[in-house]
């Protein structure tokens, strides 16, 4: 993290942190612009961009037609020719519509051109269920974009991370997919005063612990911290690591932790099968093989389209209780409880 000018912090919401990051970068660099559906006067349906159009005008905060592929493509071209677009894709579920422009164009242009073109574009979108929004407005599709060379993928879990990472993403010369949990927007957290950025590819230890390493992304960080509280009551000390970016993924910090704890649970809100948890768990199982006292467990969204009905939806996403139960079971069944590395 580039040092904030002052160590002072203040409490703002996650939404406000995003808004500040955009405002600061729009102010700092006239090449930056924001485009998307209802981003200007409406400030998006989530109101996250409120006020930006007043300061920066409709030339730089641009309401688009409902043309996700088109605006993403337009941003690729703008990025190649000297602009730094931030494209707003309202729901992560609509990534389905932009994959060609994002994956076949944005992600590959630099490589295919042998380095002569570059695409400094940020695609902001959202993830997450439990809003009673049903199957087409609840997905968490980070696994798709994390799979693609040429894309960076950011999944902040706190207001401070969101602000620092978004500023870095906008300054990055590559296409960056920036995924926000819709439920995070109203959550409040400490954010440094003044200018700061956070590098992509560096995980963050959100809670230190000795018995198990919970690797959790975005929405699942808070759930894991709550799980850690529950576990602490039962005498289990959980370390919670937030990779913050799934690509690049900070192998080192995760492995160091697992070497210490000997156990790991990976939690992400995407579907479990072929999800982000698979890569992280496989990586841990491979790189920390000789330190593991127990199999790496994974928790993700249930492998079903997200249902509308509340009692059904509520069982589709990992809860603090489910995470804690998985950890407890893991600790109970692996011999070296609290014994540190099993190497």
């Amino acid at each position: 993290m580039s040092s904030p000018e002052t160590a002072a912090t203040r409490e703002i919401t996650f939404g406000k942190a995003i808004n500040e990051a955009l405002a600061e970068e729009l102010r700092r660099d006239e090449r930056v612009f924001v485009i998307g559906e209802d981003v200007a006067e409406a400030g998006t349906p989530f109101k996250v961009l409120s006020g930006l159009v007043d300061e920066f005008g409709t030339d730089r905060v641009i309401d688009s037609p409902i043309s996700e592929a088109g605006i993403t493509g337009l941003c690729v071209g703008a990025a190649m020719t000297g602009m730094r677009p931030v494209v707003d894709i309202m729901f992560g579920d609509f990534l389905t519509l932009v994959m060609d422009q994002l994956v076949n164009q944005a992600a590959k242009a630099h490589y295919m051109s042998g380095g002569s073109l570059s695409v400094p574009l940020v695609l902001r979108t959202t993830l997450g269920a439990t809003r009673r929004s049903a199957a087409q407005h609840s997905q968490s599709l980070q696994a798709w974009v994390s799979h693609m060379p040429g894309l960076k993928v950011v999944m902040p879990s706190t207001p401070a991370d969101a602000k620092g990472l978004l500023k870095t993403a906008i300054r990055d010369d590559n296409p960056v997919v920036f995924i926000e949990d819709k439920l995070h927007y109203p959550l409040v957290g400490e954010v440094p005063e003044g200018e700061y950025t956070i590098p992509l590819g560096v995980a963050s230890i959100k809670r230190a612990g000795d018995d198990v390493t919970i690797v959790a992304t975005s929405s699942m960080v808070q759930a894991s911290l709550e799980a850690a509280e529950l576990l602490a009551a039962g005498g289990i000390s959980a370390e919670v690591i937030d990779p913050r970016t799934t690509s690049p993924l900070d192998h080192e910090m995760i492995i160091r932790s697992v070497q210490k704890t000997g156990r790991s649970v990976v939690v992400d809100e995407g579907h479990r099968s072929y999800g982000v948890t698979a890569e992280i768990a496989a990586m841990i199982a491979e790189e920390a093989f000789y330190h593991l006292d127990a199999p790496v467990r994974r928790l993700g969204a249930r492998d079903v389209p997200i249902p509308f009905s509340p009692p059904l939806e509520d069982v589709t996403v990992p809860t603090p209780e489910a995470i804690a139960a998985t950890v407890s079971e893991l600790v109970a069944h692996s011999p070296a409880v609290a014994a540190g590395s099993g190497a």
Binding site: A42, L97, S133, A134, Q136, F308, P310, V315
Partner: protein, 333 residues
Amino acid sequence: MAMSDEAAIVPVDPAGLDPWLQRYREMVTIRMFEERVNELYRSGKMPGLAHLYIGEEAVAVGVCSGLKQDDLITSTHRGHGHCLAKGADIGRMYAELLGKEAGYCHGKGGSMHIADHANGNLGANAIVGGSAGIATGAAFSAKHRGSGQVVACFFGDGALGQGLLYEVMNMASLWTLPVIYVCENNLYNEYTHYLEVTAGDVLARPRAFGIEAVEVDGQDVRAVREATDRLVQRARGGDGPAFLLCNTYRYHGHHVGDIDRGYYRSVEEEQEWRGQRDPIAVLGGWLSEQGIAGEAELQRHNDDVRRLVENGLAFALDAPFPEVSEVDRHVFA
């Protein structure tokens, strides 16, 4: 809501009624159904959000009344009107909106995904323009199977921004498919006026693909129906697709939570549409003028519809949620 008078109401048998009086009842049903949806939301009884169709009733009723039961429709996020107009049961619809097992989708779909296969509703869709392919494919299938079915594809002005629409209109035209693209232009893509995001001439778009395109007053159910009849006849007769542009207006917010609308549209505009161009008032006035039904008669129908709506709602409120184990069912057929 004059609930206390309910016991006094004598149920109406809609069969045998004048067809326009039936249309009147259908529009009133949608209106009353949704007024209750709004209340359910505000009182915290309905999970999630809903996009109200109030103000646009003449479009769904005008189009769907011109279809046979086995004709097909695809619907949108703003789909309650389409679903009711195509014959769905009020109680099962409310049940779906409340996530109950008795709902059309056993609670799995909710407001944005209601499908009523038996009545030919292939489903609401929460992807703007997302059903254009489905509707076109259903028409392809109808033609291929020789079923004689016609398909109506409902979508909003916002869907004009989705490339998929142009891809499938091209195929519908090439293969003379029996599909009618019904564009419900309610002036807004969410919170943005359609003219800010829609270039050129809307009707010229389908026409460029060789598709017959007409514009109607979407507040006048008789006009919508008349146009529909002609386009359905063409489609059924093998003359291919059409595009029906219906100019209409939603009275409420983009969704039930959209209360402060001043930043994107004026109260005057809302009042003008509500006051001058209400589809129920327009048809009611005509029914009176024609001597088909006077005010008292219309009131009797309003009351009767209210009774049906309340019954349906009561059924749904009482109905149980699905068992949690249902969550794993229906992933695969």
